[in-house]
Symmetry: C2
């Protein structure tokens, strides 16, 4: 099952050096989930060959402009291009007010349902569940209310071994029972156990997105053990006091969080405009957590 | 005196084919005036090597997203980069509400004064005057209230002929009087007329910007005789009924307006996403008004 993330923006507050404000496209089993939507996200989707009409769910972490200013433009383009399927939008309660006023004055009546769910900014909450994924928010520690998002695959049922099914001529209608671990008895009375006919599905994977936050340990439990962690790393560690003042994290701290949370892979992003070259940021983070990667525009990471 | 316009966006509602939503940078005697500010304008400024801190005045024609969605991002970046000089902003009254709510929820207190002047959408009005330029709004005919902007240089005083001044040893303090057309009498009593010592300043030039409008003749008097007219030309003439439905203009009509308004140069823009190639649009407009040019990204036009 496909589970990967394409980076659309890696810049912090001001876009520079061809870096765009925050946005990521998560592909879960060919369903499209957009996380944050900074200014220019619709152009970044185009540039990366991603059809914006395939997006079903949009998640906004907080109301600093570099995380949501591309939203009205994207929603308007979906409307102008004839969308009829709903968009499910999750974000701070005030986001709906910001959208409403702009659609009111532009006299835009969206042709598709925009289903808004306000996120809670004081406790963890499950905001979405389907047959293959659970999505939860958790509380980050920023200058204004801010949530992280965790995407967890569900454990799938066992997979059939096709050759065995063909060989034993097992009727199709027995498949669901066998996937659940049932047995099969052939005409001669031989009983086949589940693990002779089916194999365990791969372990479910998980992804956590920490957009803007002070490196506090309040959310450590929420991201514990995820396969891939995206964490902001706005500054290098020589700017620690600036990071603390502005409620951001350093590259070194992001590495420490990855270690403590026992994740498998760390993606860092939200780089300050002061850094033209990003290799030093990567090196600093890797000095603590080896499997760190730069979450830069156009790169897709398997989760 | 420098008087030119650099195009930052040429697209209509949805950005496509590397075309961005509406924005233009007008340079009048090294002062920077930004006209409309679609999503991504701050990146377009960067890309064209224009320092955004040099902008003094911003004009928003109307509240369709493709004309203003880059504004909050640009104003925020100016703030984050330490601006202290004021920005003078002109646009529909509701624009201030849209900005206020977003700055409120992002807890942004701009470090510089943002001086807002609401434009009138039912009559022509002078909104700015300095020693070298007058700026007026005029009423366009769109689905929502929309204004055009006209920039007119003031007639400058006569220019001195330096060689003559040196030869006759004319005292510097007589310059203002001579520029106003006064005479000079030398020691021998010979009288020099103004046109022997000074020459007429170049004729003042003017620029009109018609962002989004039905081709109605209501604003013809307002743009009459301008040197350069920017006029939207969203569709070709085979889409005339679509243009009328959506209160837009065709390439043919833009040419006709240029003829009737007796302008010297026509720039067309705001191209629909249906046109990948723009040459046919240019040709159609030129069939009516020869001196038409495509107002595309990165091009600078002398007015």
């Amino acid at each position: 099952m496909r589970f990967d993330v394409t980076i659309l923006g890696s810049s912090s507050a001001t876009p520079i050096y061809n870096r765009n404000p925050s946005s990521q496209l998560l592909n879960i089993n060919e369903r499209h989930f957009l996380i944050d939507c900074g200014e220019g996200t619709q152009v970044q989707l185009l540039r990366n060959g991603i059809k914006n009409q395939r997006i079903e769910h949009i998640f906004i972490s907080h109301l600093h402009g570099d995380h949501y200013l591309g939203l009205v433009g994207l929603l308007s383009s979906l409307h102008l291009n004839g969308r009829s399927k709903p968009i499910y939008l999750y974000g701070p309660p005030e986001l709906s007010e910001i959208l409403d006023i702009q659609f009111k004055y532009s006299q835009t009546q969206l042709r598709y349902p925009l289903v808004f769910k306000a996120t809670q900014t004081d406790h963890t909450e499950k905001i979405f569940e389907s047959n293959d994924v659970i999505i939860e928010t958790f509380v980050l520690d920023h200058r204004i209310p801010c949530t992280g998002f965790k995407f967890t695959q569900k454990k799938r049922s066992r997979k059939i071994i096709k050759e065995k099914f063909d060989e034993l001529k097992i009727p199709i209608d027995l498949i669901p029972e066998l996937k659940r671990g049932g047995t099969f008895t052939d005409k001669k009375g031989r009983v086949y156990a589940a693990d002779e006919l089916t194999i365990e599905a791969p372990e479910p994977r998980s992804y956590a997105y920490c957009s803007d936050t002070l490196c506090s340990w309040g959310y450590l439990q929420d991201i514990k053990g995820v396969d891939t962690l995206y964490h902001e790393a706005t500054f290098m560690n020589d700017m620690l006091s600036r990071a603390e003042e502005t409620f951001h994290t350093t590259t070194l701290q992001a590495g420490e969080i990855a270690v403590k949370a026992e994740v498998k892979q760390l993606l860092i992003g939200h780089f300050s405009a002061r850094y033209k070259e990003l290799e030093p940021l990567l090196e600093e983070s890797k000095s603590v957590f080896k499997n760190t990667k730069l979450a830069i525009e156009g790169h897709t990471f398997e989760i």
